[in-house]
């Protein structure tokens, strides 16, 4: 195994030091380190951050390997600076059994670019009728701790209550896609001034907020952990702030696209901007950034959702919702949070690595842990970022098998120069190593 000596990197953007990575571990941190036989990585000007952890990706395998595979999604993740990604359960077949989650986990191990952590479905077939075998998935080799019917809301309040209660025994968490389905029948975009003009069926903010309000009350009632996926509205941030102030065990994530883009994008009718929950208003974007800055929102999660060309190159209403996110997530956070001064690099590490790892129960897995500090003795999961680099996004150059990037043609700051997974370079000089 190669030993790496990283010279003059700035951990968390602070004073430059050298880091020695050997046998999967950070073995030394200090100035003027040297090591015989080590491969030297010149990192002057680069920022070192703990490897990013994504709570929310769609890797599409099994079932839609034409849109993404575990391997291509893993490569996109590594290029984005991730060392662990949670793979959502809405595959075909659905990841609602130990067999399917183990298959996804094993595919991730074989690809060897990031740790692919399967999410288990809450209900059989994501149908929202009865619980899947959550315990079997938790006890499997995939060690599932996050359960979600993402793509669908666990809308039945009694079923949601049982799910929240049941996973307490597994140290698990239910990650809710908050969308009251009766309020979003046929919904295409945020309901407001722009949907009124464009003649597209509106997706009201209240459909998200009502479910979050209900679920934080349920979580409080049964003393369970709740995680809220892709929070998209100012009202949701308010409800979460209230719940946290009352001691409810709730965590939440926001996507890069909801931090940057608004429903103005829908005016082109280009379905690359169609996503669920939809892009909201400027006021929502501001509230989400503030919520992420003050910790009301715990994590940035990509909701990376690859789609084949034919599922996007169509009329808006018949296109599938979702957009790519893994390769640009950190750049978006730099642009929307770091550059305006809302978050420092410690904050970025916290929201993109430490807290998501804690929510997914990945922080305490010995040598397989994620979201650990950049310190001697910790697993060598880290990335090196050039914060001054600016580049224009070219969808054709992405590692994902799909091309549905909403950032095409945008100039974004920051470039992941290198990523290390347990001391192995998965990305070097901005290129995937396998």
């Amino acid at each position: 195994m190669t030993t790496y000596l990283i010279k003059n990197a700035k951990p968390y953007g602070e004073d430059a030091v050298d880091l020695l990575l050997a046998d999967g571990v950070i073995t030394a941190v200090g100035t003027d380190l040297s090591a015989d036989g080590a491969q030297v990585v010149e990192a002057a000007g680069l920022i070192a951050l703990p490897g990013l952890v994504d709570l929310h990706t769609h890797l599409r395998e099994p079932g839609r390997e034409d849109a993404e595979t575990v391997e291509t999604g893993s490569r996109a993740a590594a290029l984005g600076g991730f060392t662990a990604v949670h793979a959502m359960a809405n595959t075909d077949p659905v990841a609602d059994t130990a067999g399917v989650v183990e298959q996804v986990w094993r595919l991730g191990q074989e690809a060897g670019l990031v740790d692919v952590v399967p999410v288990g479905a809450v209900t059989v077939g994501l149908r929202g009728e009865r619980l899947a075998e959550l315990g079997a998935m938790a006890d499997s080799a995939a060690r599932v701790r996050v359960f979600s019917d993402d793509g669908h809301c666990v809308a039945d309040p009694a079923l949601m209550r049982r799910a929240l209660e049941y996973v307490k025994a597994l140290d698990g968490v239910v990650a809710q896609h908050a969308e009251e389905p009766r309020l979003t029948v046929g919904a295409q975009m945020n309901e407001g001034d722009r949907s009124a003009r464009l003649g597209l069926v509106g997706w009201p903010a209240a459909a998200e907020e009502a479910v979050i309000a209900r679920d934080v009350l349920l979580a409080r009632h049964v003393g369970a952990r709740l995680h809220v996926c892709h929070v998209s509205t100012a009202g949701s941030v308010e409800i979460l702030r209230w719940a946290k102030s009352r001691g409810v065990q709730v965590t939440a994530e926001v996507t890069p696209h909801h931090l940057l883009l608004t429903d103005e994008c829908a005016e082109t009718y280009d379905p690359v901007f169609k996503v669920n929950p939809p892009l909201r208003t400027d006021a929502d974007v501001r509230a989400l950034r503030a919520g992420l800055a003050d910790g009301t929102i715990d994590a940035v999660a990509t909701d990376h959702a690859p789609h084949a060309v034919e599922d996007k190159e169509s009329e808006w209403a018949s296109a599938r919702p979702g957009m790519l996110g893994l390769e640009q997530a950190l750049s978006i956070v730099v642009q929307t949070m770091v550059e305006p001064g809302l978050l420092d690099w410690r904050g970025v590490a916290d929201r993109m690595s430490v807290r998501p790892a804690a929510i997914g129960r990945l922080a305490d897995r010995g040598p397989d842990s994620h979201g650990r500090p950049l310190a001697v003795g910790e697993p060598a999961n880290l990335l090196l970022l050039d914060p001054t680099h600016r580049a224009t996004v070219d969808p054709a150059a992405l590692a994902s098998r799909s091309r549905n990037s909403p950032y095409a043609g945008r100039e974004l700051p920051g470039r992941v120069v290198a990523t290390f997974l347990r001391g192995t370079a998965t990305v070097m000089d901005g290129k995937a190593q396998k």
Binding site: G192, D193, S195, G199, L200, G202, Y269, D270, W316, S318
Partner: protein, 309 residues
């Protein structure tokens, strides 16, 4: 004039007035002729690409194109390659490869014409897209108002009914306000879009209060099935509160007119005695539709119609 006619919201006052004036010139050029045809678009091909059944709109466009001597291809999505899953893009590229100069599209998805305009080199005319817009309907409505009342500036127009699901309402809101009319939308709150407050119009829930103060009442088609999704309790209650009957028509100012884009639900939003009254412009609207669509095709595809300057 731009290359496409995608939405009335796109038209500025000069463009919109040009279309109406051109329609008037075409009408006079054809008046009294035995053969109602101009040679303007000879050798050009217009495709009517219809994903929704709308015989009246399709025939109106077909007649408009033929009276300009264009070749017309009617492509109905039903029973064609489209029903076998061919995408809009593939269909459009195929039609263009066959030599179409303009595509007139009617589609159930809002924004379909905008997508189409990005894929083809020729002109795209929106003949109604989902619940978004139906710009030529608004143009013919504006033409009809101007014909009957002699002006558009300051004309008070009430648009009554299912604004939420109406592309006719949206197009008329943008076009008529651009041309200086004062528009009031009248509907139960359930049939107005959230966000209507940002439109340059007044909003009322009370038809009786609005009627004495308007020059034009435009009744929108309301589908009785909307009551199944609780937009209103029953067809009877809707018609009692928002239908235009003889009693309500009587409170209109003397020279006020009643419009309807068709097809009408007689007895629902409009009573037969109103539809057939002297105030009704419904038959004029149909005739004017052909002239206005001729003007649009002429302006988009170019060429000077005979007998006009």
């Amino acid at each position: 004039m731009k290359r496409h006619l995608l939405e009335a919201a796109d038209l500025d006052r000069a463009d919109a007035t040009l279309v109406l004036d051109t329609a008037g010139q075409i009408e006079s050029a054809l008046a009294g002729r035995e053969v109602k045809k101009l040679p303007t678009l000879r050798g050009r091909t217009v495709v009517n690409l219809f994903y929704e059944d709308s015989t009246r709109t399709r025939i109106s466009f077909e007649l408009a194109a033929k009276r300009l001597s264009a070749d017309v291809i009617n492509f109905s999505a039903k029973g064609s390659s489209v029903s076998k899953g061919e995408s809009l893009k593939d269909t459009a590229l195929t039609l263009e490869a066959m030599g179409s100069d303009a595509i007139v599209i009617r589609h159930q998805a809002s924004g379909a014409p905008h997508r189409l305009a990005r894929w083809v080199k020729g002109s795209v005319v929106n003949a109604g897209d989902g619940t978004h817009e139906h710009p030529t309907q608004a143009l013919l409505d504006a033409y009809t108002i101007r014909q009957r009342l002699g002006r558009l500036d300051g004309v008070r127009v009430a648009i009554v009914g299912d604004v939420l699901h109406s592309r006719v309402a949206r197009s008329n809101v943008w076009l008529l306000t651009t041309l200086g009319a004062e528009v009031t939308l009248v509907a139960p709150p359930t049939l107005l879009p959230v966000g209507v407050g940002s439109w340059p119009v007044a909003v009322s829930y009370d038809l009786d209060a609005v009627l004495p103060k308007v020059d034009v009442v435009m009744m929108l088609r309301v589908q009785a099935e909307r009551m199944n999704a609780s937009f209103f309790p029953s067809a009877r209650e809707y018609s009692r509160r928002y239908g235009l009957d003889g009693r309500r028509m009587a409170v209109l100012p003397d020279d006020a007119i009643v419009m309807h884009p068709g097809p009408m639900n007689r007895g629902m939003e409009i009573a037969a005695e109103v539809a057939d009254s002297a105030r009704s412009t419904i038959v004029d609207q149909v005739g004017n539709g052909v002239s206005v669509r001729m003007a649009v095709l002429y302006l988009l595809l170019g060429g000077a119609p005979e007998g006009t300057t």
